[in-house]
């Protein structure tokens, strides 16, 4: 992985191997919160922030755990770190924007069990990224997640106005849409060095 520059990591994580549309991480909030644009944007920002914090903390934790030969505790330690980061975001949001806090509802604490966040932490460990690479990776992941969420919300808002058979409504249709978006994102595969 040494030949990957920081820019490459950022772009690849954001577009061609987008967390949601190519790696299937974080589908629950992707399908759950993408109904409206006004909740999709803050959700994307909150998740990106948690990702960045989780990535930094888990990098430090990994160094510590490897030093003490405690790799088997890695998963539990990561989860604990992510849960605390989510708690932090929740408190900040409750203080500064109570309306938004209510709008996001159950999905805010559920960032803890968002596979995208844990996925970022686990993949950066598995690929052996150094500190700056980890930051680029988590930033790219966050921006990519927000991008997918916002695109999906835009499409679904338009779709509410169209005439569809009632069986199609709900998750099935969202998944089909996600498939089409995913096809579109595959087009970015030509950028940079695909893994």
């Amino acid at each position: 992985m040494e030949h990957e520059t920081l820019g490459q990591i950022f772009i690849i994580t954001m577009l061609s191997s987008n967390l949601v549309l190519a790696m299937f991480l974080g589908l629950c909030p992707f399908l759950g919160v993408s109904g409206k644009l006004e909740t999709a944007v803050p959700m994307g920002i909150a998740t990106s922030f948690v990702m960045l914090v989780a990535s930094l903390c888990s990098y430090a934790l990994n160094v510590l755990l490897t030093h003490f030969d405690l790799e088997f505790l890695r998963l539990i330690a990561y989860i604990a770190v992510i849960a605390s980061a989510v708690q932090l975001v929740e408190m900040v949001m409750k203080k500064f924007s109570p309306a938004l806090f209510r709008a996001l509802g159950i999905f805010l604490p559920l960032i803890t069990t968002n596979c995208a966040v844990l996925g970022i932490a686990l993949f950066q460990t598995a690929r052996g990224y150094d500190f700056t690479q980890s930051v680029a990776f988590s930033l790219g992941g966050g921006v990519g997640f927000s991008l997918a969420l916002i695109l999906m919300a835009g499409v679904r808002e338009r779709l509410n106005l169209s005439n569809l058979p009632s069986v199609m409504h709900g998750t099935a249709l969202s998944l089909m849409l996600a498939g089409l978006l995913s096809l579109a994102f595959m087009g970015f595969g030509g950028i940079g060095v695909a893994r």
Binding site: L21, A22, M23, F24, L25, G26, L27, C28, L31, F72, L75, I76, I79, A80, A83, T112, T113, N114, C115, L118, G119, L122, F123, A126, S166, V167, M168, G170, T171, A172, L173, S174, L175, M176, A178, G179, L180, S182, L183, M186
Partner: protein, 231 residues
């Protein structure tokens, strides 16, 4: 309650997880691993069994400990317990089949954030005795495994023309490659969900057709009564 009644209710609970409340197709939970690892039937089966193991162990243990876990820190406790079993599974798969371990990659560790497990624990195991929790978890686990297998086999047959690595259609088959790529996962799962939604809708409508005549009779009776009352 006689013994046979208890067994019957257990059986019902088991079947509910497999069919009526199928975690993947009806409740639409745990989709991340479902899409990511189901490029082949073998991977899907491995992932399903691993998830079932974690589900059964953590549900049973948490059900045994349900009177000792304080309410305020229950989620954190659950997650630590689940993470422990996931770590266990991670090492077991690494020891048993290195090929499967490499194919599933980080997704084994990501079982810990599978919504099915936390959902089952919170809504069932934390309120019921161990036997009931075990049966419920087993049903859900089997249901999830069947779901993954249905997804994985369709994608493998269409995308590679194989099932369990055995070629099905001969040499001239042109594989539909997009099915094993990410978009194919979304499409196949979407179609399965559509199928189940259609089944549910049909089931809803069927008794209505038979009940239709009675409903009309009842309606007519009430309107007549109302008319008479008004007069």
């Amino acid at each position: 309650m006689s013994r046979s009644v208890i067994q019957a209710s257990n059986m019902e609970q088991l079947l509910e997880g497999i069919w009526e409340q199928n975690p993947l197709f009806v409740m639409a939970l745990g989709m991340c691993p479902a899409l990511a690892v189901t490029v082949s039937a073998f991977n899907a089966l491995g992932m399903g069994l691993a998830t079932t193991f974690v589900l059964i162990c953590s549900c049973t243990l948490i059900s045994m400990l349900r009177h000792f876990i304080p309410k305020e820190v229950r989620i954190a406790t659950y997650i630590v317990i689940i993470a422990t079993f996931v770590t266990l599974v991670d090492y077991i798969i690494q020891a048993v089949s290195l090929a499967l371990y490499e194919a599933l990659g980080a997704f084994i560790q990501l079982i810990v954030v599978n919504c099915i497990i936390l959902g089952r624990v919170e809504s069932h195991a934390a309120k019921n005795p161990p036997l009931s929790a075990l049966v419920n978890a087993l049903g859900m686990g089997i249901g999830f495994t069947i779901g993954l297998f249905a997804l994985g086999s369709v994608r493998e047959i269409l995308g590679a023309g194989k099932l369990f690595g055995i070629s099905l259609f001969g040499e001239h088959f042109q594989p539909w490659v997009v099915m094993v790529l990410p978009p194919g996962g979304f499409f196949v799962l979407g179609l399965w969900l559509l199928f189940f939604a259609w089944l549910a809708k049909r089931k809803e409508q069927r008794p209505l057709i038979h009940a239709g005549d009675e409903a009309i009779m009842a309606l007519r009776a009430t309107t007549e009564k109302g008319a008479r009352h008004g007069a």
